[in-house]
C-alpha cells in the first residue's frame, strides 16, 4: 500500500460523486435528491481542497470550496423551500409527481 496521495483523494471523491449521482437519479423523494446533490458538492469540495494542497500550494482551491459551501447553503435553502411548497401543492414530495411543466 502506497502513501496517501492525491490519487487517494480523487478516488474517494469519485466514489462520493457517483453515490451522489446515483442518489439524484434514483431517489424519488425530493429531499433525498437534495441529499444526493450535497454529496456531489462535497465530492467536488474534496477535490478542490486536495488539489489545492497537493498541486498548487496556494489557497485558491480552499477559497473556491468556501464559495461552494456558501452556495450549497443557499441552494439548500431555496430547494427546501421549493420542496415545502411542493408538499403543500401536491401533498407529497415525490419528484415524479411534479411534472406540471410537461405539456
Amino acid at each position: 500500500m502506497m502513501d496517501v496521495g492525491l490519487s487517494h483523494f480523487v478516488v474517494v471523491s469519485a466514489l462520493l460523486f457517483c453515490l451522489g449521482l446515483f442518489a439524484v437519479m434514483k431517489r424519488r423523494n425530493a429531499v433525498g435528491i437534495l441529499m444526493g446533490v450535497e454529496l456531489i458538492l462535497n465530492s467536488a469540495n474534496l477535490n478542490f481542497v486536495a488539489f489545492s494542497r497537493y498541486v498548487q500550494h496556494t489557497i485558491d482551491g480552499q477559497i473556491m470550496a468556501t464559495f461552494v459551501i456558501v452556495l450549497a447553503a443557499a441552494e439548500a435553502a431555496v430547494a427546501l423551500a421549493i420542496v415545502l411548497a411542493m408538499f403543500r401543492n401536491f401533498g407529497n414530495v415525490n419528484a415524479a409527481t411534479a411534472t406540471s411543466l410537461k405539456r
Partner: protein
Amino acid sequence: MTAADLIFYALAALTLVPALWVVGSPNIVHAGFNLLLTLLGVAGLFAWLGADFLAVAQLMVYIGGVLVLVLFTVMMTRVPQAREADSGAKRAILPGLFALGVLVVLLLVATGTHWGAPALTDAQPTTAEIGANFMTSYIFPFEYVSLVLLAALIGAAILIREPRGTEEDDEAGAAVETAEEEVQS
C-alpha cells in the same frame, strides 16, 4: 503505513460508508442522519488536508445549518407510513448502470493518471490567508456571493409564504436565517 495514513482511511470510511446509506436507505430520516456522518467525514478529511477553516465551516454550515434544515424538512413533509414506495431494485438498474459507468471512468482517470504530486509540506493555518484573499483578490466574487445569499434568502421566504400565513412560514424563514447567519460567521 503511518498513523496519518490510518487516519485518512478511517476518515474515508467515515465518509463513504454512511454515504451508502444516504443513497440506499428507504427511510429518509435514516438517510438524513447518515448524511450527517458523511459530512463529518468530509470535514475530517479537510482537517487532514490542513484546511482548518474549511473543516470548521463544513461543520458549522453543513452540519449545523444545512443538515438541520434538511431534517426539519424531512419531518415536516413526512407522510405517515409513507416510505419510498419505489425503492425497488428494478428502478435502480438504469441509474445504477450509468453511475457505475461514470465511476469506472473516474477511477480509471484517478488511478491511470500520473499526478506527479510533490510530498506534503507542513500545514499552515489558513484562516488569515483566506480572509485576506476574500478582501483583496476575491472581493468581487465575495460580494456577489453575498448578494446571491440575500436573493436566496428572500426567494426562499417568498416561495414558502402561504397566502394565509401559517406557522410553517416562520419556521422555514427561521431556518433560512439560521443558515444565513452561520455562513456569515
